[in-house]
Amino acid sequence: MIRFVPRTRTPVWLSVAVSIGAGLAALALTAIPLALTGAPVFTAFALMAQGAAGNGFALAETLTRATPLIFTGLAAAVAFRAKLWNIGAEGQLYAGALATVALGAGLIEAPSYVLVPLVLIGAALAGAVLLLVPVLFKTRFGADEVVVTLLLNFIVLLFVQMMLEGPMKDEMALGWPQSAPVLDEATLPKLVSGWRLHGGLVLAILAAVLLHVFITRTVWGFRIRAVGENARAARYAGLPVGKAMALVGLLSGGLAGLAGASEVAGLKGYLTADLSPGFGYAGIVVATLANLSPLGVIPAALFVAGVFVGADSMSRAIGVSNYLADLVVAFALLSVLVGGLLTRFRIVFVRRGTA
């Protein structure tokens, strides 16, 4: 018989071990349907690993894909820590992207050391304001932020499509619904010439470190943790619950907005309505895999990005559908949730009939 005994504290090594174990378990679970289809399991996994990190170019691709995931993962992590269920990172990402082209595609002409920060701040503000509204609705009127943020995603995407078909449409793009390209002065520098890897990655990692410091070392970070863990006690203690929630909204929305800026100004160069293949939603998965730790978001985003990039490459090589990536990520999510049980409880095996 198995019993679960609650732990009073969880050692760090255990959290890390559980995360790695969950990743391995996810691969093992994915192997089952893979084997059932008759595909060569080990070849497929080996090709995935190779495609994700087999050479410099593959690794750069994974890092490029991980960049927006780090931003949206941080957006979800900081919000979920405060029990603010922001499902709207996708919309906030597009709001940030829209602000990026609005500011960076010719409206303002300035040297890059002015224009790049301006574009980034504008994008962060656009995402932040987009989330601040649902947060105020939540704290003032008790509106459910899950519903509001989720539905805002569709509104923002339709708004983006409207802008791309109308006022922001690039006349030079042969009729394609896309924006004018951002100026060179607004573009994030490439990290390695010839590769797609760009400065957004540095910003993303910097954001993770800063967020970690903010949450653990500052007064406002303390307030956010307190409000998230027990809003009643925080209110009783006189902590500014509403302001803390508003700040969380600004941070979370701002980070998601930066994901949009990084994709447009770092990678694509212009805005289309298919800029994000669901980075906003994948951020929730990344944050959950990271156990809502800002620093943990970095490896979690790398894992998810690696799985997707690797699966694409594997699929081109042996024809197994790249939907396999979704399967791996889904299994990883389930494994991490089960693994969470191990970090919160000690598992004790007892022989039946003692006592």
Binding site: M1, T8, R9, R217, T218, V219, W220, F222, R223, R225, A226, E229, N230, R232, A233, A234, R235, Y236, A237, G238, L239, P240, V350, R352, G353, T354, A355
Partner: protein, 524 residues
Amino acid sequence: MPSQGSTCEAPHDPRPLVLSLKGITKRFGPLTANDHIDLDVRAGEIVALLGENGAGKTTLMSILFGHYIADEGSVSIADADGKLAPLPGGSAQAALAAGIGMVHQHFALAENLTGFENIVLGTQSLWSLRPRGRGARDKIARLMAESGLAVDLDVPVARLSVGEQQRIEILKALYRDVRVLILDEPTAVLTPQEADSLAATVRTLAGKGLAVIFISHKLHEVLALCGRVVVLRGGTKVADRPTAGADRATLAELMVGRAIPARERPPSTPGAPVLSLRRVSVGALSQRDRLEGADLDVRAGEIVGIAGVSGNGQGALAALVAGLAAPRAGEAMIDGVRLAGADPAGRVAAHVGRIPEDRHRDGTIGSLSVAENFVLETISAPENQRAGLIRRAAIRARAMEAIQAYDVRCPGPDAAIRALSGGNMQKVVLARVLEREPKLVLAHQPTRGLDIGATTDVHRRLIAARGRGAAVLLISEDLDELFALSDRIAVVHAGHLSPALDAAGLDVRTVGLMMAGHGAGEAA
């Protein structure tokens, strides 16, 4: 090897054994929670189980219930023929089937269901579509007649009073044909009159052959109700004796392991009013727990006690003082400043120390550390932060001092506070509140669920705050506590606060009747 307890039956007690625990030992790592404990309970016997928090009562009961498995020892329970048979460990179903029932301190009732539904819940297959009808009704009616437990079975449990909910809990156990009934702190939430009625019920049930294990901190109840008392301390059984011939002082000493110093309450001359209410109303009219036109002064250097059954307006009073609620009408002043809006941070700034009723829900944040909980109210003060950055070393150092000064038993200032026992958690709250030398202290049920040692400590601290010149507003349902600490006592019933009368001129009966809604004159 389990140690063999004596199996020979006491010659003077002819009643058959119903339950027998032999040499129960349970270890959690280095801690021995139960060390070779023997306990025999006979049919019709009321046995008190006494012990401080951490003495091993809960572990022992959990083993009995199959929530834990003992490392050594055995549990036997009489079967239908009265023969003792071993109870398989680790199975709650087996314990229930063998006739062990427990009424927990925090009720396990589905509040949206009726009393009847709660009682039959879990006794029928999940596949049956309708609750069992006639047969169950008849059985419950018979149980109610036999035990004297009268309660409306057809309203949602949420609408019943605490005393009535407890009757549903007891009926729930009786409905399952229990032979051993465990009552965990059953009188903690009752008025003296309700407690008397419970005692009568328990005597009736015992008279019909039910074995009752009565867990309580209130020694006078134990002495009045129970025939035998078993005392646990530090995981071992230190006494198993008839209550006849025992007194409160000896039992308390057995529990704590040392003599309990008599509570000293030096005389104190009250100063100017710190809290002053004039015809104050708090809480929406739709709310049950509200205050209507209350007048009250709490002066520096005195403790004013508020007695009343929970939900009669003391919650609203506490919310007002704590800054969670604003007065709807009337004038409320703290230290000469008129209270306008709800403003918990303002109360902290005005030197009001607030000890909330529920330390888990309102007083602490479980996943934060002891040190962080210590500075929860004052995180933005200059000694705790510089330019928005938390001064971790300084906070940690002061938390260490507070841990020393308030004797908080914990692994250290960085341990998550939820790992602490209730008493130690309360000490952290006390340290947070009292270290700032508040002018007004709100102590709302400050010792609920604490053992004698921790309770004595809280009382000592409150008296010390009074001695320092603080005005103390003590809201409690425990009349012993109110009489032990208060200079004056007011009673709240149905939103109306009686004038605060000199505690020396009051007695428990009078206050009990006032709590039930009779006027002071009528009660006297």
